[in-house]
């Protein structure tokens, strides 16, 4: 039930983000969500895309450091308390949430969230047993 995230190392230099996005666009890969973690010198760009393997290959071919990371994409009802309900299940365990960000594409009044946890398998089991809907790579490709 896991999805693939594309992680790209970029230096804090003018135009670098643009160059990454241009490579992804040229590969005809659609970006569904994006998160940028930054430090004073470099950033980590995390992307959920329609075809992660293709984007990864294109970025590497263009000299970028990129890698594919397993993440969970959870679909939630777009209503008060739904995120908290799921996360509280996870917080009862030893699992750490490394980072998370929203998935911008919404359908049918649902919101999606990208989660990277220390134990993805266990986290996905907990989420599924509490009734969450997890998106697979195939689901994402169709978004």
């Amino acid at each position: 039930m896991q999805a693939k995230q594309l992680s790209v190392f970029i230096e804090n230099r003018e135009g670098r983000l643009d160059e990454v996005l241009a490579v992804v666009a040229k590969a005809n890969v659609n970006i569904l969500s994006l998160s940028l973690a930054d430090t004073s010198e470099y950033g980590l760009l995390r992307l959920i895309v329609s075809d992660p393997a293709k984007a990864d290959a294109a970025l590497r071919a263009n000299g970028f450091s990129s890698m594919l990371t397993d993440v969970l994409v959870v679909r939630l009802d777009n209503k008060v308390g739904s995120l908290q309900a799921f996360l509280s299940e996870i917080s009862k365990t030893e699992i750490n949430l490394e980072y998370m960000y929203g998935l911008t594409i919404e359908k049918e009044g649902k919101a999606s969230l990208v989660i990277k946890a220390s134990d993805l398998k266990k986290a996905s089991e907990i989420l599924l047993s509490s009734g969450a809907e997890l998106l697979t790579a195939e689901d994402i490709a169709k978004l």
Binding site: F9, A37, S65
Partner: protein, 432 residues
């Protein structure tokens, strides 16, 4: 004012005779006591008796840092270990340091040399001298310390690292002289200036060395602090600070020629160059017992003049240094070879061999930054993974060279690839 008028002002004929006598004895001794020297001389069919005086110096084979490394740690010592009273160590081109040893007599000779240098700077037994070089394996701290004590000056072993305390004690003790690296003194002078303390000091002389500096920088220090600043030269292999120093005329550094015979050779042909021409400085030690060195290639580029100086000294003078014939960097007084940095980087799991060393000087202090390419193999999707990588690289570098470096992770192929020999260093400091 001389410390040792006889030795510092003797005629060239007398000095040559003394050097010849000491050289002959040194060559005979190393041939007998040091297998590595014997092997080198035997290899070219040279016998100790072939060396009859300084005119035969160029017949002798060179000694290099590689010889010290190959005979690590004590292989080139010419006395039994129980006669060695002190060892120091400096950077080697790889992980192994260059180790040097001194007998009690060597320490006294070293103190004598530093005393001559400090006297050139006008320092006497009445002075209070703060020694703000690093103490420890580095020769700077203890070398200057022993010299200052030898003169009889009140010696304050400050060491490095606590500028605030140094400044406070300089004022409270009424320190009149300081020995440290020129960049550190310039930094100290800025701190004093900002605090408005310059007028409250008794400081009047400085003996600075362990790194190259420009005449402009020397004058800036003199102006900032209203003192006389002198340039002291040395290298641990030959002895440490005190091999040469400039007098009040600042027209070159007087070599303690009764202990060290300097030569200038072409770094390419290895032949001696004409007097006054620039080339690589080579030293032969003719009084040292522990670690005598025959024609040691310093890799420092300079020229020599034998003209008598206005100060009355007859010893030859080496001019301000014009660079190095190898890739050694001097950062905050510490000798650093790019190969050491490379060795440290390659010891860190997953680090790519593409790196760039950036050296600069900010607020008069040297900065060291190492750019390392992050390639797909070892980068992480988490910031903490990248940060831990920086920390691991920083630790490995610190352990290898003894300096803290700022580690900057950069994208792959950011560092320029060269077609020939890779360029691994950008030194933005203007030191020569």
């Amino acid at each position: 004012m001389y410390w040792n008028e006889k030795m510092e002002t003797m005629s060239r004929e007398e000095l040559t005779a003394l050097q010849s006598e000491r050289l002959v004895a040194t060559v005979k001794r190393v041939y007998e006591k040091v297998p590595a020297y014997r092997a080198k001389m035997d290899a070219i069919g040279l016998k100790p008796e072939d060396i009859k005086g300084v005119q035969d110096l160029s017949k002798l084979p060179f000694t290099t840092k590689a010889d010290l490394r190959d005979n690590y740690p004590f292989g080139l010592f010419a006395v039994p270990q129980d006669e060695i009273v002190r060892v120091h160590a400096s950077s080697g081109t790889t992980g192994k340091p260059t180790v040097v040893g001194y007998t009690a007599k060597d320490i006294e000779m070293w103190s004598e040399c530093v005393a001559r240098c400090m006297t050139m700077a006008g320092i006497t037994k009445k002075d209070i001298v703060q020694v703000a070089y690093g103490y420890g394996l580095f020769t700077g701290g203890l070398g200057a310390h022993y010299g200052a004590e030898y003169i009889g000056a009140t010696t304050v072993p400050m060491g490095t690292g606590n500028t605030q305390k140094l400044v406070t004690l300089m004022k409270d003790f009424g320190a009149t002289a300081i020995a440290c690296t020129p960049s550190y003194l310039l930094h100290i002078s800025e701190v004093l200036k900002e605090a408005g303390e310059i007028g409250n000091l008794k400081l009047r002389a400085a003996v600075c060395g362990a790194e190259p500096w420009t005449e402009e920088m020397r004058l800036q220090i003199e102006r900032n602090l209203h003192i006389h600043a002198h340039d002291i030269y040395g290298l641990s292999e030959v002895m440490g600070p005190g091999v040469a120093c400039d007098c009040e005329y600042h027209e070159g550094l007087h070599v303690c020629e009764d202990y060290f015979i300097p030569e200038i050779i072409s770094p390419t042909t290895l032949e001696p160059v004409a007097p006054g021409e620039t080339g690589e400085l080579v030293f032969t030690t003719i009084s040292k017992e522990g670690l005598p060195l025959i024609r040691y290639r310093t890799r420092d580029l300079t020229s020599i003049t034998y003209d008598k100086c206005k100060c009355g000294r007859t010893t030859c003078r080496i001019s301000r240094f014009k660079g190095r014939s190898d890739d050694m960097l001097i950062i905050r007084g510490v000798n650093v070879f790019p190969s050491q940095v490379e060795e440290a980087l390659l010891g860190v799991d997953g680090v790519s061999p593409h790196y760039m060393i950036l050296v600069d000087r900010v607020n008069n202090l040297d900065t060291l930054e190492i750019m390392v390419e992050v390639d797909g193999k070892f980068f992480s999707d988490e910031i903490k993974g990248l940060e831990s990588l920086s920390v691991r690289i920083g630790k490995a570098v610190q352990q290898m060279i003894g300096l803290n470096a700022k580690i900057k992770l950069v994208e792959p192929r950011t560092i320029e690839r060269s077609m020939g020999k890779a360029v691994h260093v950008i030194d933005k400091r203007k030191l020569i």
